[in-house]
């Protein structure tokens, strides 16, 4: 197991290195001078050159990369001129909101997808299964931001049940229990928006898993030996059908975090996604690189985690390669 883990980590390292080089090249290619807003417009050209020299503006590309990478390893992702704060600090201040949103979406996904997927697996090819399948197809076909706007139109603008944007009601200053309720009310619509596609994906996997395992020999044998349907379902079928779900969920996490960009934009949710969009609009190189690297690292780590968890629940994988 330890050897398997070690090999996975060793494969992950060059991937991270490659991503960082490509991301760096990409961001440095951006047109425009990000230091314009930093320098006093009345400064003489000599002063400007001196200042730009000091921040490393004239360094060759590879020197810039090494400087950046060296600092990044120690957690220093540079300084955002636009926000006047270290990148790691800005990212850290926003990441909580995104985790809250993505976490709620994941919880909703599981709450809905588990019963629905199991039901579909047990009743495969019946009328009700077909109806749910068609609904899944529709859910997979709606752009997240359009779904978000529809929900805002219905529940915020027309019915006035829920707020349409932000995390808390501005000026309400609610604290304690009232504060939690306030955040929860703001959370419902964006979390539902983000969860919809994932519900369709996860229930689809469960449906296939459950119905296929029901047809396997060991299940038939259990029935032949007189086991009760409930026992077989909970004992053997779900245990095996849930295995691919572990992988899918750990791989959904990076997708949820980076995919929250559109949802966060539509609902003015101050998380990583919206920060990312703002960084592009402000040409904030350092911040942009920090965010992309942050998301890429999470993707790599989640992949690693998925492999390791899978190797634990299914030992065959460890020797497979």
């Amino acid at each position: 197991m330890l050897r398997y883990l070690l090999r996975r980590v060793l494969i992950a390292l060059p991937v991270l290195l490659g991503i960082s080089i490509i991301v760096f090249t990409l961001v440095v290619l951006q047109p425009g001078d990000p230091y314009v807003s930093m320098i006093d417009p009345n400064a003489s050209p000599e002063q400007k050159a001196e200042l730009l020299n000091r921040v490393g503006y004239y360094d060759p590309l590879w020197v810039k990369y090494l400087k950046w990478a060296g600092r990044a390893v120690t957690g220093d992702l540079g300084y955002s001129i636009q926000y006047g704060a270290p990148v790691s600090q800005i990212v850290a201040s926003r990441v909580g909101n995104t985790v809250l949103l993505a976490g709620s979406a994941l919880a909703i996904t599981l709450l809905v997808a588990l019963p629905v997927g199991i039901f579909q697996g047990l009743r495969r090819d019946t009328g009700r299964d077909l109806i749910i399948s068609i609904l899944s197809f529709v859910a997979l076909s709606v752009p997240t931001f359009f779904l978000g706007m529809l929900l805002i139109k219905i529940f915020a603008a027309d019915l006035r049940w829920l707020p349409s944007s932000g995390v808390v009601t501005v000026g309400a200053d609610a604290s304690g229990f009232a504060g939690v309720v306030d955040v929860a009310r703001h959370l419902i619509l964006p979390a539902l928006t983000l969860a919809t596609v994932n519900i369709a994906v996860c229930s689809r996997y469960l449906r296939t898993g459950v119905s296929e395992i029901l047809g396997l020999d060991f299940v038939r044998t259990q029935f032949a030996l007189g086991a009760k349907p409930g026992e077989v379902l909970w004992g053997s079928v779900l245990k095996n059908a849930a295995k691919p779900l572990i992988t899918i969920i750990s791989l959904e996490i990076p997708a949820l975090l980076s995919g929250a960009l559109l949802t966060e934009t539509v609902f003015s949710w101050p998380g990583i996604g919206r920060l990312n969009f703002e960084a592009v609009q402000n040409r904030d190189y350092a911040l942009l690189m920090g965010i992309i690297m942050f998301l890429a690292v999470i993707t790599v780590v989640a992949n690693l985690l998925a492999d390791v968890i899978y190797a634990i629940v299914d030992p065959r994988v460890r020797v497979a390669r």
Partner: protein
Amino acid sequence: MSTTDTTPRVWHRLLRQPLFVTGASILAVIIAAALAAPLLTSFGPNEIDLAHLEAPPGNGHLLGTDALGRDVFSRLLHGGRISVLVGIAAVLLQVIIGVSVGAAAGYFGGRIDTVLMRFTEIVMCFPFYAIAITLAALFGASVWNVILIIGILNWTGLARLVRAELLSLREREYVLAARAVGARPLRVIGTHLLRNAYGPILVNATLAVAGGILAEAALSFLGLGVAQPDPSWGNMLTAAQSMRVLSSEWWLWIPPGAAIVLMVLAINLVGEALATTLAPRGGALLRDLQPRRALSANPIPRLSNRKRVTP
């Protein structure tokens, strides 16, 4: 094993599937409407009617007008042309890159395979929207840049698929025979290997068109895709970023949104039908949504495909 003699049978089987017929009919109607735009509406997509600004449906404007007095129905039809063009062109690019990389890796194996697949893994770890909006800001917003961005970032699934298919095909006897008589790699790959792997490739490419249309819509909605005054379904939706339009001017944003949903749904239906006909191992959705196992070559263990025994 040649494709020609199986094609009619494939068509027959497809036409018997309600999923395929429904999806293909919707597709045909949308594409025909987009192509016949000038016949269906008397307004040009950029024609300004100063007498009717942000007018609700009526006065000859089937779906009303936008803030500049342009006919929404006309922009919807012309926007369809651009959205569908972006979806298809981006997938062509994906197919070119993905099939080349996958075929080279799968056919040659060894060090070439390692290098190409490691590179594929790197691209797979890119957070799509983060990189896409960075690229869009870098190159500017235009139809061709959107196609390039979507194509360049989304070929990895196809590459891995083609590689896996080729790995399983390349030791077949007819391939060995072809190589033994001196056929060159390109010829072996083109005439023997890819031709026998066309089913999964076609399914994957079909579903990718849906993905491309969704990505175009998202980028254009953010103002980083198809730029005004060209209409696209995505950039028509940008209008709804204003709360006033969102809550009280439905004709500006519901029609393009509904068009995207219909189009993507139709493509997904066709893809699902193609998958069950051409590559009958699990549905298209399963295949397409195969999680990104970026760092691992272990596939999710496939479950047996036997018929279910009713308990």
